[in-house]
Subunit: 362 residues, 2 copies
Amino acid sequence: MRTLTLDLGRRSYPIFIGRDVLARRDLYSPYLDGAQVLVVTNEVVAPLYLDAVLAALDGYDVNVQVIPDGEQTKTLATFQSLLDTAVSRRMARDSAIIALGGGVVGDVAGFAAACFQRGVRFVQIPTTLLAQVDSSVGGKTAVNHPGAKNMIGAFHQPVCVIADTATLDTLPERELAAGLAEVVKYGLIRDPEFFAWIERNANALRGRDPEALAYAVERSCRNKAQVVGEDERESGARALLNLGHTFGHAIEAGLGYGQWLHGEAVAAGMCMAGDLSVRMGWFDAAELDRTCDLLSRLGLPTRAPAALSAAAMRELMGFDKKVRGGRLRLVLLRGIGAAELTATFDAAALDETLASWRQEKG
Amino acid sequence: MRTLTLDLGRRSYPIFIGRDVLARRDLYSPYLDGAQVLVVTNEVVAPLYLDAVLAALDGYDVNVQVIPDGEQTKTLATFQSLLDTAVSRRMARDSAIIALGGGVVGDVAGFAAACFQRGVRFVQIPTTLLAQVDSSVGGKTAVNHPGAKNMIGAFHQPVCVIADTATLDTLPERELAAGLAEVVKYGLIRDPEFFAWIERNANALRGRDPEALAYAVERSCRNKAQVVGEDERESGARALLNLGHTFGHAIEAGLGYGQWLHGEAVAAGMCMAGDLSVRMGWFDAAELDRTCDLLSRLGLPTRAPAALSAAAMRELMGFDKKVRGGRLRLVLLRGIGAAELTATFDAAALDETLASWRQEKG
């Protein structure tokens, strides 16, 4: 097992990474205060890992709430149902909410933990690659509004993250690939050595080589922890973690949540950000090719879906959390390993990217 | 105009207190970042003060949402309707939400400001005495769950508080008295000189003497700001501000929200906490008499409503945010000006207080 620390002063917390760690009672007990625990999971993950987690929590007063799988579940209605459970079970301020699952479970359970009694303890047990390398670390919680992704939420840091890499054995191939999109993102925005490592190990990662996956999780978490430790509330460098996300959120909202996985939309979005960066002279065409080739080898889309018009995407991008003072801001690339947030991108070039960087009609 | 500062380091903010200050544009503009503003108010306050606020916001892109008056409005449904407005108007991350009204408006609008895009700027314009002396200062936001008051919320500090004491001229008498309950609370828990001042000025306060009210608002805010500045997240001294509130919340939830005003329930709750403190030998009977006499002179109830059984109150008190490790914790009095949070109160004495400290059946 490896232990990383996200350094936030008094609110610092450990990230435990290893095989079979979710069954280890000693990783929970130091971080729980009261006896009451609400475990939130989904109908896919529950049959696989819930028993092991409950065994590790033996002696606690545990309630379990199983929610449906998928992005469509990440709503205020689900948030409210978790709070109804917490209230009806009379959970106290020293109780804890544990998220066992992927990004959706973590985001909605984390938002409930942020708001129940104005904040209770929260433990993340991410069981997808995407959640292990990205969403479980850093304290962003949210639900979607029908009009926009992650529009309602809070910053609420967990007390610990338990990333069990053995859970990746059961992950569907498409979800594994979606997680690798965020792994590639760390290479692109700040870690060129890691990018080159992913290029060399793409086949091992797709083939679920345990050592390769464990290394990818650890190095991704290390990157994320550094960025969040320096800029918890996203007033600066943390925004770079959104490379590809403004494009990607437009794809997700435009197709309807759950059509493309978040990581798939981000993969296409990173290529679109790269194409716009090339058009602006910031990024080499050869670097864009490397980026798209790698994502493609990992089984990911590299262009916007044909079903979504350029006009619809442009409209959806205008309502993104990175809009400030009425201006859209985008994360663009200056090179592999170098990203920049800018409001002064070339609007005509953006229109060209949106019009041309699309999949063929199938 | 007087300006106090709530000292929270980087997140410090001013509290402006004076007559007609809500119309002063110079008190808003330094604290707004983007052009978009959502003003949340209610149907009673809007006809009185909305025009003056809108005039002060001339040039901003202002939306207004008017919600019904009363504690019954403080729900997740209202919270959601505010977020629907913010999303449909495409409000950006640099927009602001302004609460114009009493504690209900401030609590629900503040919770929306805490969660929209994970937090946008928030301005409080409290128009009731209760909101001016208590709820607008300190960053607690919340909505009620049908089962329990303020059970869903967030800590989200405003960027400024504009307390216009001229708004107290139009306040119904019952609401004025309810606000005075929280004023007396500051005297009871930490400021015995202020308690004595209130005793001497009770008639002036009930008669709305402007200077007396302005002094009461300022000294109350000063007390609140000191406590919150030392303990923002209520890990210690801030809990003393809840004197009478565990009893009071049980009264509010037991009768149904809106039957008794919050300040009325707190007044009765403070006397009940005082009675329990006397039974435990912590507090003099003469001090309890002084407390009840003062609250009574201010037009406030001093006993639990006859309609609510002692058993029902005891049950409701078991689900309070101050329950920790399964133990109810109560704020009790050691003297006028000295309060203490304790989990080791005398349970039999609590039952006696609940059974005996009740209004006559009417």
